[in-house]
């Protein structure tokens, strides 16, 4: 099965970190991605830009409405994701627990709807 691991965290937290801690964090994410890849579990992963760069789009009555900002205005925002292959929820959870994001934020595990 495929699972999307979504990393939620406080925005600006990263930039507030001292340079040494940022370096360490980056190394942790690199190592994590590498481990996923070597285990043959990684399908895709990306880091997202912060929500000031987010735009909401809705179409109602034929009119497109475009607004600045993220969908939900909460403290914890989606900051990145990993799309992985796992045999069941337990395997997905064990990968989510290894993600550095689980230590500084929340990792939400969502099964992908299989077509």
């Amino acid at each position: 099965m495929q699972y999307l691991l979504m990393i939620y965290g406080e925005e600006g937290g990263w930039n507030a970190l001292p340079e040494a801690a940022q370096k360490e964090g980056l190394a942790a994410y690199t190592a994590y991605g590498e481990a996923l890849r070597k285990a043959g579990k990684l399908i895709n992963a990306n880091r997202l830009r912060d929500t000031p760069d987010a735009t909401r789009v809705t179409v109602a009555n034929g009119k497109t409405k475009v607004q600045d900002g993220p969908y939900a205005d909460t403290k914890e925002q989606l900051g990145g994701y990993y799309l992985i292959e796992a045999k069941d929820l337990d395997e997905a959870i064990s990968w989510a627990a290894r993600c550095p994001g689980a230590s500084h934020g929340i990792v939400e595990v969502r099964p992908v709807w299989e077509m």
Binding site: Y3, A86, K87, D88, L89, D90, I93, P111
Partner: protein, 416 residues
């Protein structure tokens, strides 16, 4: 009624109790589709009730039901072939069912229980889910046992089964490092259902009384399937001890009788022996877990009453150990009551948890009942009366209310 009908019905009921969960677990093991397995099995039972009175019950009713249910399962998958993942589903069912001989169905009930008590399933639903898929209890019975509305309970159970399938919750006994935590979720769920059954100790509510029997069956089953897990043995022992004293917990008038005043001739000695045998088996191993300690406590209480030998020192020591593992107010309250037997009510009142520090206590009936008892023994009549009022107001069992009212009036009339 034709001659065979009653027999067929009884055979079907006996197989349902013994094998329902085993068949559901087996039918759903690969696809994780518990709801589909339950539907197929329900149809198989309906066929059995139609056929067996005519043909007589088969030699191996379990295998008969399995064969019919697997056919129903495949039929149902075919009917739903609009579903996009139909082919792989069917493949899985066919593989699983073809591979195994129906005469020897592997027992996967434990794996099913671990799926139902998975941390991804909402905690309050784990016990109801186990009762439904392992024992086949219907949503109405479960709802009334857990004081919930039948339609809400039914919807939540359907949702939970959907989640098992869609989120890919595994049907497996967890790996060693995860096992203790996950096993305790299974045991906690069984115990939660058991204590729900106990809220009607007089046995006037049929659904609740049955629940106690069903959960004892589950605890026993878990202990049999995990004979090397002391906590599984401990839980079964704890429950057998509690059950053994049930006949003595009410007098002829239906009034509540506390342990110290129970007629020990009414205790079920066979269940006490059974419980103690389980404790000895668990105790042969190293670690002491929550349920093992609670079982040891029940055993010590029974031993004191049966022999007349005071063992409060041992009991307080067991509560000390339990408090290290479970930091719950319930444990603290029971420990304080044991201290009262050893040191008197003053020391016990000091050992009681503080309702101001823990707001949950102010609505917790056993806290007020214990406090009232200790204050009364200490001679603080006015405070005792206030605590009794709280305990009476929070109690939902009329027999216990009557008992507390009697205690309150005795306290009030005592000479200072």
């Amino acid at each position: 009624m034709p001659a065979g009908e009653g027999d067929a019905q009884r055979t079907a009921e006996a197989v349902a109790r013994r094998s329902y969960g085993k068949l559901v677990a087996f039918l759903a093991a690969r696809t994780r589709d518990v709801a589909a397995a339950e539907d197929a099995l329900a149809e198989a039972f309906a066929s059995a009730l139609a056929d067996w009175p005519r043909t007589g019950a088969p030699d191996n009713p379990e295998a008969w039901l399995m064969t019919v249910a697997r056919r129903k399962l495949i039929d149902a998958s075919r009917r739903r072939k609009t579903s996009a993942n139909f082919e792989p589903q069917l493949q899985l069912i066919a593989e699983e069912l073809g591979a195994s001989d129906a005469m020897d169905i592997p027992d996967q009930r434990l794996a099913l229980m671990f799926a139902c008590a998975h941390p991804a399933i909402e905690e309050s639903l784990r016990a109801p889910l186990i009762l439904q898929v392992v024992l086949g209890l219907n949503a109405e019975t479960i709802a009334s046992s857990f004081l919930a509305s039948p339609s809400a309970m039914s919807k939540r159970l359907v949702r939970a089964k959907d989640k098992i399938r869609q989120a890919g919750i595994p049907f497996e006994i967890p790996v060693r490092e995860d096992l203790p935590a996950r096993l305790s979720a299974v045991l906690d769920a069984i115990y939660a259902a058991f204590t729900e059954g106990w809220t009607d100790p007089a046995g006037t509510d049929a659904a609740r009384r049955d629940l106690t029997g069903e959960t004892l069956f589950l605890a026993n089953l878990t202990a049999e399937l995990m004979p090397d897990e002391p906590e599984a043995l401990g839980l079964a022992a704890l429950m057998f001890h509690a059950e053994a004293r049930r006949p003595a917990r009410r007098n002829a008038a239906g009034d509540f009788v506390p342990l110290a005043e129970q007629d020990i001739d009414l205790w079920n000695t066979r269940q006490i022996d059974q419980a103690n045998a389980l404790i000895r088996r668990a105790g042969a191993r190293e670690s002491l877990g929550r349920y093992e300690l609670e079982a040891a406590l029940q055993s010590a209480h029974a031993h004191r009453r049966l022999t007349g030998r005071d063992n409060w020192l041992e009991i307080v020591a067991l509560y000390d150990a339990l408090q290290m593992i479970v930091a719950s107010p319930v444990v603290a309250i029971n420990r304080a009551l044991a201290i009262a037997e050893l040191e008197g009510p003053g020391g016990a009142l000091d050992a009681m948890p503080d309702a101001e520090a823990d707001p949950r206590l102010s609505g917790y009936q056993p806290y007020w009942a214990a406090r009232a008892d200790l204050l009364a023994r200490w001679g603080a009549k006015r405070e005792a009366a206030q605590a009794y009022d709280m305990a009476i107001g929070l109690e939902r069992d009329p027999a216990v209310r009557r008992f507390l009212q009697k205690r309150k009036s005795i306290t009030a009339s005592d000479k200072p």
